[in-house]
Amino acid sequence: MIAEAGLIALWLAFALALLQLTLAGFGLAGGKPELLGSVRPVAVAQGVLVGIAFALLITLFLRSDMSVALVVTNSHSMKPWLYKFAGTWGNHEGSMLLWVTVMGVAGAAVALFERALRRDTHMATLGGQAAISLGFYAFLLFSSNPFARVDPPAPDGQGLNPLLQDPGLAFHPPTLYLGYVGLSVAFSFAIGALLTRRVDAAFARAMRPWVLAAWVLLTLGITAGSYWAYYELGWGGWWFWDPVENASLMPWLAATALLHSVTVLATRDALRAWTVMLAVIAFSMSMVGTFLVRSGILTSVHAFAVDPERGTFILVLLGFYIGGALALFGWRVGAVREGAPFELVSRETMLVVNNLLLSVILGLVLIGTLYPLMTEAFGHKVSVGAPYFDRIAGPVALILMLVMAAGPLTRWRRDKLGLVARRLLVPGAIALLVAVVLATVAWGRIGVLPLLGLTVALSVGAASVAPLWKRNLRRTPLFTWGMVIAHLGCAVSLAGMACDSAFTVEKLAAVRVGDTVQAGDWKLRLLQISPIAGDNWTALQADMEAVRGGGRAVTLHPQSRFFASPATATTEAALLTRWNGQLYVVLGQEAEDGRWQLRIWWKPFVTLIWLGGVMIALGGALALVGRERRGWLLKWRGRALA
């Protein structure tokens, strides 16, 4: 019954989305403005219904209902409940349902809470949101029904990829998804504004919270994904420039650019056409990312739910929405007036350069990721990987960081070059000092890029906090704090990356039980190897002891795990976190002579990479709260009076 109820809810939500689009369309263009009044309640009802459908699918997974095909192929009654829960979206159909659920709920939120926007733009936005949802509803209902039954019911499920049975990964895809869908709301706003020719500061202010929220979630999702790859793949790498990783990075780059341009539009009423363009690009990157992951046209470690038929469906949606939006852009943008002008030395220029550099990096990642596909069309197989991206995108990113340091120290509208330079004096001096010290100490031992990275990170870190200099910290607005923390986070993350590539110590060893091995300052001893069992796995676990200098011994337990359903082996690295770095130990195979393979890394300050990521997200969240709080307070007061 539950599955049928879910399917009915989904059909009803589909019908309501259709109604929502029709009402908005006739209301705006068909000369029946009286219809517009019903758009908002319909949007809310659609959000509620699709939410119910998703909740029912979760219920089916939690109850391990083996008469539902999706549960059979993706779950197992022996699985811990957390992974049953996460299994709901750990597959193609479930994740698509999550996608429309978030879109529906976001649409309901836009209908309920958006007050400042002009009514026609608001309704056009809701119509656009319904149009996008419709495509995904159709996808679900006609090609990927998550509620399909199997007859007779299966005795038990076929499990979930054990690599995915991990708390980090259970919540990494939905976080990215929420980010993608947040960008779809920004896209709907852009379509609404183009349709009603109202690209202005009010539109930017309405769109900004959605962009910020999407960006915060994308940042968290990428950070979590990177940490997951770091400890789960067992080779100490945290970013592989894999197509699927790039697919999550591209929307983030576009959202970062959009975040800054929307601020220019909201504050100074400039960059109108560009902001609309970026909103379209940001969402198209989300869809391209989804397409690349699902269609399997590129080889990837992460490829899951690969199916050319689904790929075709997503590609059709992609062509329809993005092609349509770009055509609308070409047709309507001529009617969008130029925004306010600005001087060469001004914060606006800095932000434009920021947007330019981010777009260049985005373009490079896109071209690099798709290049093998292009050459294959000519029958020539090539690989584009880390060496290309590091060497080409790395330097552009470093320049971007320098602009990021200078931007907040430059005034809006007009500033003097001399004054900006004076404000950058301290960070500049730090940069010079660091560069000289590093060059004398470590020249030839570390690469040029890590050396530059460390120098830039420390000076940019100093420059990021400079906007707080001589300010009353309690009076400083929350969004300024947000900006400072996010920028500082970028510097912190860069410092972590540079330290990891410059100073990591690697030790590969084959040891007997009782032997010691030295890795950097650490002395490790293999005490014993014993079998242990978990919920749905068994493992060989090494007990090891690690000592640094004269410190106390710490025990470590790296494992190699075996999952029964489906049969898979994984390595579970043991991580020992210290303030100045992480010790990373992996247990490998046993050799014939009874020695065990160990892979050991000491990675100084590597944790800064993800700490920086969390800081960036926190900064975004503070900016979001800071910007919105004023509006909320006003609304609340208004309601209290009434």
Binding site: V280, S295, F329
Partner: protein, 175 residues
């Protein structure tokens, strides 16, 4: 100029769209073929991998008659699936030699006892050195070698029953 710039994003997008569509239309091709096809075999000399067959050297593959060089391993499941086809080829008079990858003599003996032995010579490539030198990316793979020791064809994956006539034709063409 500005008008052109406005339509540029749509043009670029259409380009990418065409690329994606062509990527979808093409069958999924993950096979990495050897670039040595058409060239002379690299020189090698391998010890015997089985108790009752001699080892294999590259010179023994240039005997004036085309030969089939099969890359296999006792631990590889598709290799067992391929065994009947190789037996059929051997019965039709095809000269088949083999290289066993990362294998142990006892395991190879057991494998041959169980699935049959179509090979004249079997070399043991314990560290995949010859496999890498051949540009082979996995097991099983088969190379058609002409009488002068040149690689004329590479078959990636197991030989299915309906591949047998094609392999025979390749061997005939190599004469």
């Amino acid at each position: 100029m500005k008008r052109l710039l406005i339509w540029l994003p749509l043009a670029i997008f259409l380009g990418f769209f065409a690329l994606f569509a062509s990527g979808l239309l093409k069958p999924d091709d993950r096979v990495i073929t050897s670039k040595l096809v058409g060239k002379t075999l690299p020189a090698f000399s391998l010890p015997a991998a089985a108790s009752d067959r001699p080892g294999l050297a590259s010179t023994e593959l240039a005997t004036g008659k085309p030969r089939l060089l099969n890359i296999f391993a006792s631990w590889c499941l598709p290799c067992a699936a391929e065994a009947p086809q190789l037996m059929a080829l051997a019965q039709q008079g095809v000269n088949i030699d083999a290289i066993a990858i990362r294998d142990a003599r006892a395991d190879v003996d057991r494998f041959l006892a169980r699935y049959g032995n179509p090979y004249a010579r079997i070399g043991l490539d314990a560290r995949s050195n010859v496999q890498i030198a051949l540009g082979s990316s996995g097991v099983p793979e088969s190379f058609v070698i002409d009488g002068k020791g040149r690689i004329v064809y590479q078959h990636v994956g197991d030989i299915r029953a309906d591949d047998v006539p094609m392999i025979l034709q390749r061997l005939k063409d190599a004469q």
